[in-house]
Subunit: 157 residues, 2 copies
Amino acid sequence: MQIRKGTAADIPAVYDLIYELAVYEKAPHEVDNTVERMLEDGFGEKPIFEFFVAEDAQKQIQGIALYYYRYSTWKGKCIYLEDFVVRESERGKGTGRLLFDELVREAQRVGARLITWQVLDWNEPAINFYKKLEADLDSGWINCKLSKNQIDNYFKL
Amino acid sequence: MQIRKGTAADIPAVYDLIYELAVYEKAPHEVDNTVERMLEDGFGEKPIFEFFVAEDAQKQIQGIALYYYRYSTWKGKCIYLEDFVVRESERGKGTGRLLFDELVREAQRVGARLITWQVLDWNEPAINFYKKLEADLDSGWINCKLSKNQIDNYFKL
């Protein structure tokens, strides 16, 4: 399994894996992104995410770690791991660890002061993986959001 | 109270409010950012955050809404509200709502598909404020992180 930086040509495979993760997270109906928008958002004038891929000997993409930079007012520049997926048939073989290792190398290269991500509280295999990394897991926060529809109608209600 | 876009000259006041919020969130020891780093991170070659300020008639900054763009692989470009603070003596007078309204206007201007943020699960006044906005509050996620020290030592352990 080779780990390398992702390119525009990988986006269709990346989108498939994002969808696979959304199904696993019981939220496929939440995905309304498209391959076209991801190409623009990742490789257009102002790229807003980057990713690593795990590619097998047949050049099939078996896993991704998609991330972007965030700003912690407490710590400074940090990396946020938005989507971290290994294809189901390939799990348990160390591919996730290879991807995560590469993310940490990236953090070291750019001098990121923090790597953060989230995990669903019932996703035990992932939680165990993160515990092995000795990551700090903290469940005292509630996620809040306004959808596109709510944003559009915010001043109309 | 006037709401306007923040400038480099506001950073010392912004830093004070960030620290005030960290104290309220029982985590002042977590703040190791500095005014100097914030100036570079917000107004250097590659700005990574923006903010609105609430300024009173005496030109004192009484509140901030600091945000940056994130990427949701499910939705696309979104705004993340990293720090949202009104000085304690000024709370309950509508300043927070003015700041939040401006953030929504910004989301509409740039076509953001989502506004997200987090709130501590014991912070009832804030939770009630967000419920009044009819925001979606979801506590099924655990936050995970690797600190700078863990990043630096990741391959040494």
